[in-house]
Structure formats: C-alpha cells, structure tokens
C-alpha cells in the first residue's frame, strides 16, 4: 500500500516536472520582445532584394545595387511611421510585386505551400505506425502439425540469419 502511494507520488512528480518543462519552453519561445532594429532585421529577412541577385534583402551586398539600399531605407521609414508588420510587407508588395516576399503568404493557394510538408509528415507518421501495426499482427506461417526439425538448406539459412543478426556482438 505504502509502495503504491510512493509510486503514485513519484509519478505525479514526474508529470509535474514535464509540465514545468513545457511551460518554461513556451515562455522562452513566446516572451521575446523586439525593439525597432530587431523589427527592421526581422522584416528585412522576410523580403528579397529585387535586383535579381536572389538574396535576402538584408544580405544583398552588391555595391551600386539600385534596390537594396533604397529598400532598406524604405523599410526603416515605414517602421518609423508606426506601420505594423503586415502593412509594411503589403506596401512592399504593392511597389515591387509579390516576389519581394521571401516566403509564401498564408493566404489563398499559397497556404498549400505551408500545409503540404506538414501533411506529408503527419501522413508519413500515420503510415509508418500503420505499417508497424500491420507487421506486428501479421501471422507467421507455421506448418500444419507443428514445426518439423530443420535440416539442410533451411537450417543453413537460419544459421546465416542468426549470424547476420548477431554480427559485431
């Protein structure tokens, strides 16, 4: 009885520790507060330079690039004006076209871009679990009248299997 109570207590303690870890992790992830330069950096990394270099706006390093410096200045000005992130990005899309955004948006057909990888992961995981379950319950073929003693080639094949499975022990 005492052992049961102890076991239950230690189980609850373990659950508590796991809960604590999850809450701490959530706090770590979501409590970040950004200043203006962090916003410039963040938004600048969500856009591409449109000069044709295929680089993230904040990483374009072409001297004399007709776009990157101007775009960075526009970004700083938009943030100084007090525009929120969506408004800033929208302004850039209107001016430079949809290709200025470095990743698909989460609207309309573009949502599919984000959904598919996760769908593949979930579908794959489900598939693997189903396969494992099917394999585990798959009946093994046993000859009628019980297993006969093994001889010859069959015995050799089992020996070979045992060798392979214990290789390196």
């Amino acid at each position: 009885m005492l052992r049961d109570t102890e076991r239950r207590g230690s189980r609850q303690l373990r659950i508590r520790i796991v809960q604590f870890c999850f809450v701490s992790l959530a706090l770590l992830v979501f409590l970040g507060a950004g200043d203006e330069s962090a916003r410039v950096n963040d938004l600048g990394h969500r856009m591409m330079c449109v000069c044709g270099c295929n680089q993230i706006l904040m990483e374009c390093n072409h001297v004399g690039c007709a776009y990157s410096s101007r775009m960075r200045n526009e970004l700083v000005a938009a943030i100084d004006r007090g525009d929120n992130d969506d408004l800033v990005l929208q302004g850039f899309v209107q001016k430079y076209g949809t290709t200025v955004i470095a990743a698909p948006t989460t609207k309309g057909f573009n949502r599919v871009a984000w959904i598919m990888p996760y769908l593949a992961l979930v579908g794959g995981l489900t598939g693997v679990v189903l396969i494992v379950r099917a394999w585990r319950t798959r009946p093994l073929l046993v000859p009628a009248g019980g297993a006969a003693p093994l001889r010859g080639v069959e015995l050799d094949s089992y020996r070979e299997q045992a060798r392979k499975e214990t290789e390196g022990v």
Binding site: L27, G32, E59, V63, A103, N110, A113, P117, V132, T166
Partner: protein, 672 residues
C-alpha cells in the same frame, strides 16, 4: 580538331547502342551464342569509355590551345585564363558538363564491366542499363548540345572568358565531386533495376550496391560541402547555404541516398523493406537526373544555374521513360520483393530506421516542394512568388532536429525489440549531459527567449551533445570489453573494435561528423554584420574585433585587374592579424568578383568583404561579418569522410578468444 571530337562522340553513340541491344539480346535469347554476344556487348561498353575519354581530351586540349573556332571554347575560355581553369572549362558550360557527365558514367561503366566476374548475369543486366543511360547523354551531345560546334564566319581573336564566379580553386574540384555523386547513383540504380528484372535471388546485389552507394554518397557529400565553401568564400554574402534551386537539386538525391544507406540494412539483416529500398534507389537516381534538369533547363530561376537551354524537354522525356520502365518491372516482379520477417516492436532498430527514412523523405519532399512551388503558384494563380530561406528554414529545421534525435536514439536500439529499462540505462547519462549543456549555455549568456532561431540553436547543440555522448559511450563500452580480453590500452581497443565491424563504427564516426556540422549550423543564429565606408585610418568595430584601414592597393594581372584593402585586425587593443579583402575585375567577361578575407578560428570567422567604391562618394566600402562556429562545419565534413572510409574497409576477422566463465555483456544494439 573538333572533327575528331565530334566523330568520337558519334562512334561512342553507335557503340553504346550496340552495347545496349546486344546486351539485351544476350540476356533474352538462350543458346550457345548468347554468351559470346554478351561479351561483345561488354567490350563495346568498354570501348565507349575510350571514345568518350578521347572526346573529353580533345575539348580540354582545344581549351589549352585557345582554339576559339570551337564555340564552346570561345564562350568559356580566353587566352589569359590560368591553366587549372582551362582544364575546368570542360565542366564550365552546358555542352562540356554533359560530356563530363558522360565521361564519368563511362568510367563507372568501365569499372563495373571489368568486375563482371563477380556475378556475370547481374553485371550484364547492370551493364545494359548503364549503356541505356549512356545512350541518352550521347544522343544529347550528338543532336542537341554538341560541345564541338563550330563558330561560323570570322574567327575571334580571344574568348569571352570563364564566368568569374567559377575562377576559384574550389571550382576545379567541386563540380567533379558533385558529378561523381550524381553520376555514381546510376550504378546502384542499374544493380537495383537489374536485380528486379532478373528476380535476383538473395541479397548479394545489396552487398555489391551498398559499397557503390557509399562511395557515391561520399562524393556527393564532398561536392555539396565544397559548393557551400565556395559560396562562402566567393559570393561574399556571409553565408554558405541559400536554398537556391541548384543547391536544392544536389541536396535531394543526398537525402534519399542517405535514407537508402540506412534502410538497406533492414533488407540485409532482416529481409525487410525490399520494395521500399528498390524505390528509394530508383528515386535517388531520378532526382539526380531531375537535378540536372533544374540546372540546365531554366525551369526555376537560380543565381548559379551557369548554363541554360532548351534541353529540358529531353530530360523530361528521359525521366518519364525511367519512371515507366521502373514501374513496369516493379508491377511485373513485385512478388519477388515480399518481406521475409515481421516487425516485432515499435521500440526497435527496425522502427528507428523507418522513422529515420520517413524524416529524410519528408525533408526531401519539402525541398522539392519549395523548389517547384513558385512554378506551381504561377500556373494556378498566374502570379509568381518567391520561396526562399525563411520557408525552408521554418519547415526543415524541426525535421532536422527530429533526425538528430533519432541519430542518437537509433543506434542504441537493438534489432527486434528493446526494453524500456535498457533504453533508460543507456540514455540516462547522455540525456543528463545534454541538459547540463543547455543549462550551461543559458548561464553563459545564450538567451533563447529573445528569438526562435536561438531556441533552435540551443536545441541543436543539446541534441548534438546527446548524440555525441551516445556515440562515445558506444565506443568506450565496446573498447572496454575488448581491453578486458586483449589487455590493450583503451584507444587501441577501440580501434580494434572499429576494425571488427567497420561499417557500424564507421557509421558512428559519420554520425559524429554530422553533429559537428550541426553545431556549426547552430552558430549561424548569432551571426553579426556591419558595413562602413572606410578611408585610411578609419575604424570599424564588430564583436570583440576592431578593424583599422591601413591602405588600399591595386594590381593588374593578364586575366584580371584587382584592388584590395589592407586592414589591421585588433582584439583587446592588440594587433592579431592583417586581412586583405579583394575585388577583381575580369577583363574578358567584364565582370566583377569578390575574394573574401577570412580569419577563421574554432570560435568564429571574421569575414571581411571589400565591396568596392560607393559610386556617389567614391569612398571604399567594407562589410564585415562575424560568423560563429563556421569552422566546425568544415571539420565535420572531414570527420564524415573519415567515417565513410572506415565503413568501406573490410571487417577484420575477429580474433578467437577463450570464452570466459562469465559472459560479457555486448553493447546494446549490437550489429549495424
């Protein structure tokens, strides 16, 4: 000279066709003549190699002789191009790189055909399939992209020059490595398809294929990381991976190839996943071809698709043919691929391989999906969008972290079934080590709550420590058992252990390399950069470094003119180095290129780019990046190569030892 090359390619095509047809007939027809016909097919395949090599030699010789009557040489070389780059002309443009692909394929084919005595019938099937692939590339070169095309009209005095971005020492070895990887996957593909066609009994073909796959995989790994190093050193944006379509093209077959190298063990050991393995290797080969399609066709826009043309249609047709052939033979012979055993537990080595394969394939699918989505979006919405690094990082980093976790867990699971107690026993210390590392990093100033990238970085380092400790504990535990038997010191015992099962312990070394690379990647969350117009005596601060501009200088060389800055590097008030970031102007192509100055240490890279002069003020601009832990990536690659080489060494015959009265406990998860 061009006529010799053209003729060699035409003859090579004829011989390849003969090799294919005679090979097929010798396999289909029964009778005394079929063996002799098969032998002629094999010899025709060998002769093809000689002719393609002749064509390649002609092209390289033309580059060295500045034969600008050949259009390819005119477009990719010039008189003052240094000798190593003249050699690299062979793979610098479309026609040349197709010839180079064909040359490598014929060399792989030569090795395969020379080793035909290992298993005549299986090798004959593989030889026929390689001949079929060779025919495709020779058809392309003879009818769509001839490397020996002649310039009409007046002969130009000098060539247009090689792309400046390609004039860097690594570009002499990066493409060959990458191509050895791409082309090499033809061989396991040929064996897999051949084994399926002939309903090959047993798993011998897997043993033969595994070695080829490992070598190919190692080449592809080297190629990918050499490319990353080249991008880091030449492009000057401070990074090594930009999720560019061409980079993605090389990553996809690497991911499926890695999945195959893991899942193939299940077939060898337990006779399971046969269909899966066959399709994995088919997919890997098709992705290699698809990579070439992406690079060559202009299907997607890329900064380093160095050659584009309309040969994309040829590749689409070729891919459709490959897929159809694979599907037909799979449907016809799928009964041959039934699993021999069942899976007994979800907590077993088999399950870990299944999950590992799943994650690698999801990563591959994500890369493929992201690469092609702009095209799909354009088709559906009519508007083009960009799928850049934010998408790939957000989707792939969690998958990579799960893979990293499995890298630690998988090898400690036993085949068939692992008990929870054994799991707990084996993971207690590595898990505590990982948690302690996390706590230490936070105590040292890592602030994961400030940015999601810091969370990923912290998790990557913690999981890397977990994997590292499990790998080390595997070596130490096995080494201790050997030491007790042999009396050697621990290190010698571990070497002995690795030699007894090279594949398993080589694999662990590869895993160790992977975690070193992952730690290097984790550093990117803390990159810093700054940019300043700097005149003589001006200072720039970045991290704990101060850069002081000493002077600027210029030099004129035959191939290019260059200007560079001389910057003194100070740390804590003491001069520790001088850096020379450079900017080159290539005369023939009239293009600029940067040569980065990099002070690399284990802790961080001080990476300085001379960006040229501000067109308005006329003042030189210096951009400095501080990139932590980048050197770990390059070290990790070397560790992976060492691990692959160890895994390729044949096992030593285990020494006979007297069985002690008390049986020693084998390391958990014994076997591969």
């Amino acid at each position: 000279m061009s006529q010799i090359g053209s003729f060699a390619l035409l003859l090579a095509l004829a011989l390849s066709v003969y090799s294919f047809l005679a090979g097929v007939l010798s396999l289909v027809l029964k009778g005394p003549g079929s063996d002799r016909l098969g032998e002629t097919a094999r010899r025709a395949g060998i002769a093809t190699c000689g002719l393609v090599a002749l064509a390649a030699t002609v092209l390289v010789t033309a580059a060295f002789q500045n034969d600008f009557s050949i259009a390819y040489i005119f477009h990719h070389s010039n008189r003052d191009l240094p000798a190593p780059y003249k050699f690299a002309t062979l793979w610098s443009g479309q026609e040349g790189s197709l010839l180079f692909w064909s040359l490598l394929l014929s060399i792989y084919g030569l090795v395969l055909r020379m080793r035909h005595k290992t298993d005549r019938r299986l090798f004959a099937h593989a030889s026929v399939i390689i001949a079929a692939v060779q025919i495709f590339f020779l058809l392309l070169m003879n009818f769509a992209a001839n490397p020996f095309g002649i310039i009409q009209g007046t002969l130009p005095a000098d060539g247009a020059g090689l792309n400046p971005l390609l004039q860097y020492p690594e570009m002499v070895i990066h493409p060959p490595m990458l191509y050895l990887g791409y082309v090499g996957f033809t061989v396991p593909f040929a064996f897999a398809l051949g084994a399926l066609i002939m309903r090959y009994p047993g798993e011998k073909w897997i043993h033969i294929t595994r070695r080829w796959t490992m070598v190919t995989w190692a080449f592809l790994t080297c190629g990918i990381f050499l490319g990353a190093h080249w991008a880091y050193s030449v492009l000057g944006w401070g990074g090594y991976w930009g999720w560019d379509p061409v980079e993605n093209a090389s990553l996809m077959p690497w991911l499926t190839g890695t999945a195959f190298l893991h899942s193939v063990m299940m077939q060898e050991k337990r006779g399971m996943l046969k269909t899966w393995n066959v399709w994995l290797i088919f997919t890997t080969f098709m992705l290699s071809i698809f990579g070439t399609l992406l690079t060559r066709s202009g299907l997607v826009s890329s900064v380093h698709a160095f050659a584009q043309s309309s040969i994309g249609d040829w590749f689409v047709i070729f891919l459709a043919i490959i897929f159809s052939v694979c599907l037909v033979f799979y449907v016809k012979n799928r009964s041959h691929l039934r699993s021999e055993h069942r899976l007994e537990s979800l907590v077993s080595r088999e399950s870990s391989f299944l999950f590992n394969n799943l994650l690698l394939l999801v990563a591959c699918f994500t890369v493929l999906w992201g690469t092609l989505f702009p095209k799909l979006s354009e088709l559906v919405n009519g508007t083009k969008i960009t799928v850049g690094p934010p998408f790939f990082n957000r989707v792939n980093i969690p998958v990579a972290l799960l893979l990293l976790l499995l890298t630690g867990v998988g090898p400690l699971l036993a085949w068939r079934k692992t008990s929870f107690d054994s799991l707990k026993r084996n993971f207690r210390w590595p898990a505590l080590g990982a948690l302690a590392t996390g706590a230490l990093l936070v105590a040292l100033g890592m602030r994961p709550w400030q940015d999601m990238s810091y969370v990923y970085s912290l998790m990557t380092i913690m999981l890397s420590v977990l994997v590292g400790l499990t790998v080390i504990s595997e070596f130490v535990r096995g080494g201790l058992v050997i030491r007790r038997h042999t009396g050697q010191n621990l290190f010698a015992s571990m070497v002995h252990l690795a030699h007894r099962n090279t594949r398993r312990y080589g694999g662990y070394i590869v895993h160790f390399g992977v975690i070193v690379i992952m730690i290097g990647f984790a550093g990117s969350a803390f990159n810093q950069d700054t940019e300043k117009e700097m005149s003589f005596g001006d200072k720039m601060n970045i991290g704990s470094y101060t850069l002081v501009c000493q002077s600027y200088t210029q030099e004129d060389k035959p191939n290019y003119g260059s200007e560079w800055a001389i910057l003194q590097v100070f740390k804590n008030g003491k001069q520790i180095d001088t850096l020379y970031p450079e900017r080159r102007f290539f005369k023939a192509s009239e293009q600029n290129s940067t040569i980065v100055a990099n002070r690399s240490t284990l802790k961080e890279d001080l990476y300085v780019v001379y960006e040229g002069q501000n067109p308005v003020t006329g003042r030189p601009i210096i951009k400095a990046h501080l990139n932590p832990l980048v050197m770990w990536i390059w070290i990790g690659v070397w560790v992976m190569i060492v691990g692959t080489v160890v895994a390729l060494i044949p096992n030593a015959v285990p020494a006979r030892v007297v069985v002690p009265a008390r049986m020693e406990t084998a390391p958990v998860g014994a076997g591969d």
